[in-house]
Each structure stands twice: as structure tokens, then as C-alpha cells.
Symmetry: D2
Subunit: 337 residues, 4 copies
Amino acid sequence: MSIVSFTPSPSQYSFTFGGVAPVMRVKPGTILSLFTEDAYCGRITSRNDHASSSLVAHELNPQTGPFYIEGAEPGDTLAVHIVDLTPARSWGASALIPFFGGLSSTPQSPSLQHPLDERTYIYEYDSANHTVGFAAQGSDFTVALPANPMLGTVGVAPAANEVRTSLVPERFGGNMDTPEMRAGSTCYLGVNVEGALLSLGDGHYRQGEGESCGTAVEGAMNVTIIVDLIKGGGPGWPRIESDTHLSSIGSGRPLEEAWRAGQVDMIDWMSELHGLDRLDSYQLLSQISEVPIANVVDTNYSAVTKIDKRLLPVSPAFGGMHAHLSNTAATLGTITY
Amino acid sequence: MSIVSFTPSPSQYSFTFGGVAPVMRVKPGTILSLFTEDAYCGRITSRNDHASSSLVAHELNPQTGPFYIEGAEPGDTLAVHIVDLTPARSWGASALIPFFGGLSSTPQSPSLQHPLDERTYIYEYDSANHTVGFAAQGSDFTVALPANPMLGTVGVAPAANEVRTSLVPERFGGNMDTPEMRAGSTCYLGVNVEGALLSLGDGHYRQGEGESCGTAVEGAMNVTIIVDLIKGGGPGWPRIESDTHLSSIGSGRPLEEAWRAGQVDMIDWMSELHGLDRLDSYQLLSQISEVPIANVVDTNYSAVTKIDKRLLPVSPAFGGMHAHLSNTAATLGTITY
Amino acid sequence: MSIVSFTPSPSQYSFTFGGVAPVMRVKPGTILSLFTEDAYCGRITSRNDHASSSLVAHELNPQTGPFYIEGAEPGDTLAVHIVDLTPARSWGASALIPFFGGLSSTPQSPSLQHPLDERTYIYEYDSANHTVGFAAQGSDFTVALPANPMLGTVGVAPAANEVRTSLVPERFGGNMDTPEMRAGSTCYLGVNVEGALLSLGDGHYRQGEGESCGTAVEGAMNVTIIVDLIKGGGPGWPRIESDTHLSSIGSGRPLEEAWRAGQVDMIDWMSELHGLDRLDSYQLLSQISEVPIANVVDTNYSAVTKIDKRLLPVSPAFGGMHAHLSNTAATLGTITY
Amino acid sequence: MSIVSFTPSPSQYSFTFGGVAPVMRVKPGTILSLFTEDAYCGRITSRNDHASSSLVAHELNPQTGPFYIEGAEPGDTLAVHIVDLTPARSWGASALIPFFGGLSSTPQSPSLQHPLDERTYIYEYDSANHTVGFAAQGSDFTVALPANPMLGTVGVAPAANEVRTSLVPERFGGNMDTPEMRAGSTCYLGVNVEGALLSLGDGHYRQGEGESCGTAVEGAMNVTIIVDLIKGGGPGWPRIESDTHLSSIGSGRPLEEAWRAGQVDMIDWMSELHGLDRLDSYQLLSQISEVPIANVVDTNYSAVTKIDKRLLPVSPAFGGMHAHLSNTAATLGTITY
């Protein structure tokens, strides 16, 4: 099985969903081995690099792609199975950025208060123990946390000819920042334009739900995915399937609107999978829904509605695509970069 | 060890936090064995009982209590350890109520749309298998779900001489509707008035996060708690400790305000437990926070900020109260009602 | 015509709606001449009195009342016609209060940012020119602004046995903080308890829409009202009628929920006055609605939905009560205190 | 003085801000006489034309433009003075559109409720009396309302290479839907790209504040503007100056975020015009702010923060541009199309 590799040069980074020419055309079923730069464009390398002086506006959250998926048409469903996520550096970084984050006023919701002090944290990645190390700056507290690699951003070109920055999560995916986007998961995205134009990036070595301060343990990532296509059936909001769970990720503001969007999408998904009418599906979801918040810091907030597949009868989604791609992934053996 | 039992008569139900005379005075350390009626005041007993005709306004969500805790003064911390929650009936009920629930317009946020159709679902409780049974009404789909007994509502009298209905979650606790309020958990509440005036109720045999339609599998519950008192240290928002997690529950609208409240409370809690300054605590929380939504349906919404104690060094909260009460609970042996 | 006068002693101030015994029983039609202390309880008298050191928590926004209106029963409509508002002192005060105001984080929606600097502004009231004087503190800018006396807070006891602080605006009225509550206006409030229990206060010599920093030009006020009663017809939200406009004031969070509440109430009011069905009323309101925001700073936000009576055919509201009370007021001649 | 006229053919309509090639290059100071089609693309012509069957998705709210303004560079300020707005047809139309409007659930904030019934209202425009006629459909009520022509949508290309549909209001202007955008007003917009790329449309013969049902009295409009350029000084949010008022229009969700954005922008504007520090400006704004809501129905909500120039000392904004353009407009005499 051939694997297509791609490492973008900095001039090839993509900072929007839509509005960018594809870097490559690939067929459904292609395995892609990719490098993604961190959300800072690699400009923060030590705790002395502060966001306000080191970062370049409009060069944030670089994406690898877009990939033109042959045969993808508006209304179709793109399936992106994450085979592997391996930190590409021995450290990640999280930064407290002025007027950014969930516990600060922001340009979108300003106050007259002064910004929080800036701090940058470097987390050493211990690949043997698969941990990232936190060291406090106001005391000598340290702790090693399990690494939990994920992609903050996976998306396609938006509908209605829109072009959005890679900082935005929306119906087209984008910067959802959910830890559910981990190896072993399959992400389903509705296709809006010919070729879908898939991009991804924003590797996190670890992130809490909500991404409170606005930055996770951001790090360059080696990424292996299988991209596939389902004709038709494009969901209204991004969906993720793992071996154990189905998720729908709504995005919007205020946070309850993000939640409502994901809930209704899951209700419709459950109705389809289990032959339930909408009210029955609503009732059942009320008793089984898990709602881990994704982010309360981005341009839109994102909330995950998640159900445990083991609670319900078996009913394969999207024609069994997740199992199919998981099986394919299993044939690949150990992934190296 | 003596156990104080109390089953309220209907005339003793309490429908507010504050504004009600205590049903009993108890000393810190008392074990209470209580009966709580369901949120419908027992008025829904079959799927033919619809909310709009069966329920009585202002007789919703009856609470058992209030209990006057001797020695409790404003600024203190009440600890409520849930020893056991056992369904008191062989069935629970969930109802789709007109203009209520997370996917309906409500009197607080009205639209001009018609209400959803009413439906009442009876879930048989199978005590042998500890499951509740869902049966669809629009098809013949059925499924048995694991029971997961919890209390929707635990609270004390509010500050500032306020009196709030038992439908409201706020700083004083109340109708938070989080599945974290389960047997084995210790809830910490800041005391606002002499005696604290603890009430609880709203048993759920099972509930999904968010309580989407507004009602869980509501059921009468037998409840065993140990109530204890810590002088001083009253937290700003309700906190819950289990063997594995610390949680803070913020409530408000929109949902992000509930989240912010719980996040800041947890930051301050982590700072205190681990000697971190606030920015370090913010940073660390950003990487470890779990945010399971509690409810998006009540007068205020509630969001849980939760951390896994196993990720951080051991540092007993509230003087080790949770371990102390868990140990006491363990001495009680099998609970019967 | 007899006028009943009442000036509360500090021990008679009321800090809640509900939960307080009436200071007086009055018959419908009574003219009341009242004194209201300022929202600071008179504790800020110079620009050196800062909120954080001068104010006493739980002694904010003192109300004059409650007045028990004889014959008022739940479901009735209380009519409060404001005959006159005259500043009772030669100055008012506005304060920037830490973690309060629309452009600051608050305890309800906290950030980790530091509070804004405190400043207190004393506005001299020039009764001859009917102006209040603003003097900048960071420069020598001064300006005299037209006085525009209003009451921030008018309300009755809440429904469902609740007791709310005088800082809250809700269905029962309370701290709505709208400049529409001025002399010449009639406020209609739904009665929730026997006697209604009317209280009012929070005089503002002038306030901008939104009350941005959280405090208006707060000042003690001499108040003349006529209180009257309409059997039945209690509106869902507070309404105000002036010679030129009808208003409904919704309160809630987020701000769009306050807006929706007032809009639907106005739609129903227009339907009733003009024989329109709800969709026609919605359509018509869409073209004539005025929406001056009341406050974006209180526990709930308040939005006014207002229509110009001159745009629509004459159709007296509440049986012509406003005209009746205005006529009565006109017979009173010059008001003195 | 020469006037440049432009009437777009349907194939020239622009449905996005950004992402569209300019239809024309013009020099600063140019007078433009334009035709704008209505928001329905002219597809609703009678009350039998319902939105769900007559409208074409992605062909809503057609804009006339974009115009490339010579010399405009990022950071500059575009000034658009509206000389005249004259209805181009003898009728306008307002439609109740399924799952759209402020008192309906929407795709962005869905419920499970059914949509409202559809209705289309045709308002005859009486040019002699300058009124539009409302006729109820559920009764025989009719009323003639004063026409109040305005433009719902005025904007430039967004920053950060984004492309947004013409339905969105944001920092770049767009679909703000405020009645302040009337003849005699000057709109100031920050320039984000070379040439600014100004587009406008969405004529309303009349609109209430909030645009409750989502559609105003929509109508094709003849528009005369003067477009001019100020080097530098690009404001953070759209601003409007009339002979009597200064306004800043913030957009976002929830509505309080739109309000905060406009408030802070106005505080900075007042600081600049009157030499006030930010806290003094905040204080002064608190007492003089007018906040007429613009829309609570679009993708973002919009709130106007408005101050009466007559309350403050004279201090010309943007170098006196409004007076200059008003004077130029006055020389044009009667506008005809």
C-alpha cells in the first residue's frame, strides 16, 4: 500500500479554509503521511518567546493542505481516519496571550481591563514515558502529564463561497479543538466544493476540555491519515466516530448554540441509525448524552455531543466506514516518519 | 452509629431554598436516611400522564429538608457525603414538557413556534440488573440502559436573604443536575445562613449530560448521606469530590458564564491545594480540565469543571474530609431502607 | 385629594422584593409622596469615597416600601403612575466599582484580569438649569448634561414565593434601569401576591441606555406616584405607557433573551389592542419596534421593546388607565416636597 | 460635478464581501448613483410568493459593487456619505421565512419545533405621502407607516483574506441592518485590502430596530453616495456620523458582545475627540449612551452605541469629513434617477 508524504514549506502553509489552491490531488483511499507545524508557525521556542512579540498576526495556525480529493462533490461526505499522531519535536509550548483565552476579555468581547501578564510554558515531551512536563513559574511545582496527541484543526472549504481563517470552527470543521480528534478516530465532514479541499493542523500534545487559556500544549506533529469518500450523506456538522463513541461537534456563540447544533445533529444521526422518530431520539439522547466541551476560546465555541456506542444496538454508520478504515490502518504496522 | 431517618409528608415538601423553616436540627457528623419524592411530586405515573395536565405549577421538584446543621455559620463549609442512592420505586419517568427543555423555546427565551408534542416515557427499573428500560413510542425500539442514580438538586439557603425555587441552580447549589452527584461523592457548599438549611431531592435513576429534554429518568429515591461541617473556607461555588476527581460547578447564563465561574473556582482551588499562583493554575487547568456539561435546560445552566486527582500530587482538600466521610460510610455496611 | 407621605428611616429600607413586611397599606388611587435614598445607601458623598471601601454589601439599592395595595390579588395588574421625580439633593454620584459594570469582568462572568481602577464622580445638580455636571478626572474636561430623572427600580413581590435582591430585574420588575421610567409614565406590573407589595427606589438624575459602567448619576429622589389597580390582566413582563409610547421590558441573560421576552410580550399586547393575530403582530412589530437597551450590567440584562402610539390607531390600553392617571396628576398642580 | 452611474445586471450581483473582482475603479470624492436589487434578488413580487419556494439559497442579499477606491490601503478609513435613498419600486416586501427571524429557532440555534407558518406581506409605497402600507392577513387591519429608507448592508472586503457572505455583519460592515444608515449619514469603515472593495445593498423602505422577523420592508433602491478616503485612522468597527449623532456599530453573539464592541469603540472615539482618558470616557458614555439595537436576526447580531453630538463640545471627527461631504451633497440639488 503506497503512502503519500507531504511536508509543507513555510510558503505552503495555508491560513484559511477555502480561498487556497490545493497542494495536491489524491484519490479516495489514499494514505497521507504529513507534517504539521505548530499553531505559532514555530515562532515560540522558549519561555522567553512571548506571544505579543514573537507571533505574526495572520500567520497563526498554519494548515497542511488543502488536498483535493478526487470525485468529492458538494453533498458528499469526506471521511478522515487518523491513523497516527506522533509529536514531531521533543517539546510543545503553551502561551498566555494578551486578550485571548477563556478567562480574559477579548477583542470580540472587550472590557477596559488590562491584559493578563504574558507567560510561555515549554512542556518537554518524554517519548519513552509519553508524557509532557509542566513546570510552574511562580513556584517550583512540576508534574508530568500523560501525552494525549490530537489535532485541533481539521476542515474543508466552507459553503457559500466563504473563506474563513484557520482559527474558526464552523460547519466545515476547522479549529474545533476537541481531544476527540485523536488517533483511531474517523472524522466525517460534509463536502461543500468540488474536491472538498481538506486541510489539517494545530497539533496538541495534550489539551484539557475547553482549552481554557486558549492554547494547548501546541507542537509540530507527524500525522498519518487515510482519507476516503462517501457519496452523498454529508452531515450538517462535523462528526467523529471512534471504536467506542459517536460524536457530533457543534460550533457557535453563545456556547448553548454550539451545544444545540451538535445535539440536533446527533438526534438526526440516531434517528437514522436506529429508526427512531425525532422525539424518541431526543428522549433517548437526554439519558445517554455525554457533553465534553471542546473549546470556549475560539471565534466560535465548540461543544461535543457524544454517545457510547455500547449502550445501543450495533448499527454501522456511513456504511461501516470507520471499521473499514480502522482495518486498513491495522494493516499498516508501525508508523514511522 | 445512629442513623436519623426522615420521610417527608407531602405537606412537608420544600419548594424553595431559603424561606422555609427547618424540618429538623442535626449535629455535624449525622447520618441521614431520607426519602425524596420525584420532581413531578409523584403526579406522573404512566405514559398517559402528560406534564401539561398532570403537573401543578409551583409544586415541582419537591425537596426533602431543610435540615438545620448545628454550628453552621455564614462562611463555613457544609460537607454532604452521599453514602447511597437507591431507587425507591420500580420505575422512573421522563416527560417532554411544552416549552421546556434544551431544544425548545421557553418562557425565558420565547419564540412564536408551537410547542413540541408531549410524550411521557416510563422507564422500568430492573434492580437485579440495575438497568432502566427505554421504549420508543414512534417505533418498536427498546433498550436497557445502566442505571446511574444521582441527585439533581442539593443546596442550602442562598445569601443576601434571597429565596429561590428548587428549579434554580446557583452559588448555593440547588438544581445543578450533574451526574457527578452520585453515591461516593462529597459535595461542599458554602454556608450563607445560620444552620445552613440543607435540602435535597430530584432523584434521577439516570441522566445524560446536559439533561437535553429537561427531564432525566426522574424517580423517588432513598438517600443516605452523612452531613458534616468545616469551619470557614466556604467555597464560592458548589464543589464535589470523589475518590478520583475534584469538581466545581458553575451556574449561569449564557453557558460560557457558568463555565467561567467553575473554571475560576477550580483555579483558586488548585492554587490553594498545590501552592500555585493563579496564572500557573490557569495554565495547568488548560491542559487537564474536563468539562462535562451538567444542564442546559434549567433557569441557569450548569457546567462542571473537573480534574482527575491522579494527575496531580496528593493534597487533601478540606482537611481530608472526603476520605474521612468515605471511611465512615464504609463502616455502615449494606444500606437498607 | 389627600397625599400620603412616607420617608423611610434607614432601618426601614427594603433590600429585597418579597420577604419584607409592608410599611403601609394603601387603597388603589392613593397618591404617594416618597423619599428614596440613593443606591449607595447614602454612603458615597465625595469623589474620595470609593465603592470598595465605602459600600456595605447587602445594603445596596435600598427600596422605599413595600406598600400593600388593598384588593390586589395574584393575576391583577398594578398601575404605578409617576407624577413627579425631583432630585432630593444638590448632587448625584456615579462610581466605577471593581468587578462591576458592562466593560469589566464580574463575579458572574469572571476573568483573571485585575479590576479597573476605582473612581467616583460627583455630578452637581443645577436645579435652575436642570443639569448635572460631569468633570473628568484625567483631564480638565467638563460638561453640563441635561438632567433626566428616572427610577432605576420599581417592582412587586415575585411569584413562586421567591425573594430577590433589589439588584435583580425580572418579571416582577425590579432593577430594570430604563430611562423610560420617568415622570409622566405609567408602569404596569403583574401582581403575584396579595397586596402586590410595591417597592421603588434607585433614583437616577440621568442615565445612558445600557448603564454602561453599572452606575448612573445616582441620587436621592423625591417621588410622587399614584398607585392604582386593574383587576386581572396581569402582564407577563413589566410594561410602561407614556403619552407617546407603549413599552415592554424583558430581562434575562444573554441579552437576546431579554429582548425576546419583551418582543413576545409586545406582540401579544398589540394583538390584544388591535385585533391582530400573532403573526401579523410579529410582522408589524418588525417594522415599528424601537429597542433602546435598558441595562447590560445587572444580574439580568434588560431590553425595552417600544412602539410609538402615534403610528397605530388609537386603542386605549388597560381601560385607559394611563390617561386617567395622567388627568389625575394634572389636577395636583405643582408638586413640592 | 460628474456622477458615475451603475446598475448591475443580475450576473453582476455580488453575494460576498471579499472574493469578488471589482465592478469599477473610482477615485475618492466620486459621486455614485446606484441601483440595488432587494434582498430577495427580486424573486418575491406578491404575497403568494413564499420564501421557501421562491428564494434561491446563496442568491440572497445581492450587493452592488464592489467598487475599488483608488489609493485606499489597509489601515485607511473609507467614508461613504449617503446623499439619497429613493425607493426604486412602488412596493416593498417582508416575508416570514421558515427557521429565520428573532422569534424562531434557526439552523444556528436549532430547536425541534416546527417552523412558523410562512407569510409574505406586500407594502405599497406611496411616494406622495412617503408611506408604506401594512395590511394584516388574519384580520382587516391596515395602517400606513412613514417610509424611512435605509441600507441594510454596507461593507468592504474583510481582513485576513476572509470572504463572508453578504448576510453577515462584522468589523468590515456588511449586513448590520441599522436604520441609522439613512440619507444624510456618513459611514466610516476601516480598509482591509487595497482598494477597499466597497459594496452595498439591502434597501429597506422601513425597518424596526432589531428587524424582529428577519426581513424589513425590503425593496429595490436608487442610491446616491459620495465615497471618500481618509488616509489612516481606520476604526475597529463601523461608525456612522449624522448631523446630530455619532454611532459605532458592534456585531457578534451573544448580543452583549456586539454591545461591548460598539461601546469600547465609542469610548476610544470620545477619548480621541475630547482628550479624555478611557475611564473618564467610560463614565461619560455611561450617562449619555443611546443604544438602539440594529438586528437580533442575522448571523451576528448588531448593536448601535450612539451619542448626541449636541451634548458635547464641538470636535469634528475624521477631519470634518461629514460636514465636507454634506456640503458637497447639498450642491447636488434634487437627485433624480
